[in-house]
Point group: C2
Chain length 194, copies 2
């Protein structure tokens, strides 16, 4: 398992590619380590990278005034980025912070555009990843719109056990859209019922 086997495996789930195409892509990847609490991106910066996570996990959050809400968590074996800023080239509203010491592979925006133009397969990969992200965002929208915080918490336990297992309660609460106090009470209610 070298540094590139996980990302190569990820990409293989979306498109087939030749060694040449792969080598061209791999050449664009740069390895980086981030300490726990370190930032991959800060609000106000333009997001210049899509980042594949080899080790560790990240929290994506934004602040309004002194309030903070968690947009998402990203674990090893997946990409993390602020897609909105990356695509629009506008300053990000989000922060991306390492929740543990992490090892990542960065792909720069400019390099990705080159990859898109050089090899149709990367264009196709870009489309498929975007489609894949849409599936997840549609599901998140549905959850936020439809579910009570309690129902959503139960759903996260089922669909994303890593979140429950690894993330402090207060961040889970802000991911669900409630206060830590509320989530604490929800858990209590659930344990009484069960």
């Amino acid at each position: 398992m070298d540094d590139f086997s996980a990302i190569r495996n990820f990409i293989s789930r979306f498109v087939s590619f030749s060694e040449e195409e792969w080598n061209a892509h791999q050449a664009f990847l740069s390895k980086r380590s981030i300490k726990k609490g370190g930032y991959l991106l800060r609000a106000g910066e333009v997001c210049n990278y899509v980042t594949f996570i080899n080790k560790g996990f990240f929290r994506i959050y934004h602040t309004v005034g002194d309030e903070e809400r968690t947009a998402n968590f990203a674990f090893d074996g997946n990409y993390v980025t602020d897609y909105s800023s990356f695509v629009s080239r506008l300053p990000s509203a989000d922060n991306i912070v390492a929740m543990e010491d992490a090892e990542v592979l960065n792909l720069h925006y400019d390099d990705l555009q080159k990859a898109y133009e050089q090899y149709p397969v990367w264009q196709k990969f870009g489309r498929k990843v975007a489609e894949y992200i849409i599936l997840f965002m549609a599901d998140r929208n549905r959850s936020l719109l439809f579910l009570t915080p309690e129902q959503y918490y139960i759903k996260v336990m089922k669909d994303r056990p890593k979140v429950i297992a690894n993330v402090p309660l207060k961040y889970i609460a802000s991911y669900l859209g409630v206060t830590p106090e509320a989530l604490s009470r929800i858990r209590k209610r659930m344990s009484v019922k069960a």
Copy 2:
């Protein structure tokens, strides 16, 4: 203004294309009329079309039990589809219903895949549209997570005045994630303040 000028204009905002590429694409489009109250898609069906709206507008909603929530509205000059079902080829959870008599252009899934393979420009267009959708979904997520119903209502007034102007209150309420009674009271509070 023929039937294809609006869609051609829309696509031009994302990619440049030759006449040949355009003709190949246009050949896949099929015109259809839908009466007010008619369905473009019903929950349980696989969504086989991306639909460009020449006239009229649509509501996308899903039901759980006897509850109904509005995922989105789509107006003329834009596409409408259940992207999740269209991409995943799984049965849709959503319904898409015409809120007025409508004129649309349908593009079938199979034809779109052909277009992707035949001309790189359509592959690129597919990617860019997917990215564009992500921008909107990220914004919707943020709104649902961050804003009170009142704040969200104010945002919709500013960002999507067509929704306020054309959509019955009860559907706006279900788009914001509240009951019609709640939205009625929110409007009352606002009018008192103003």
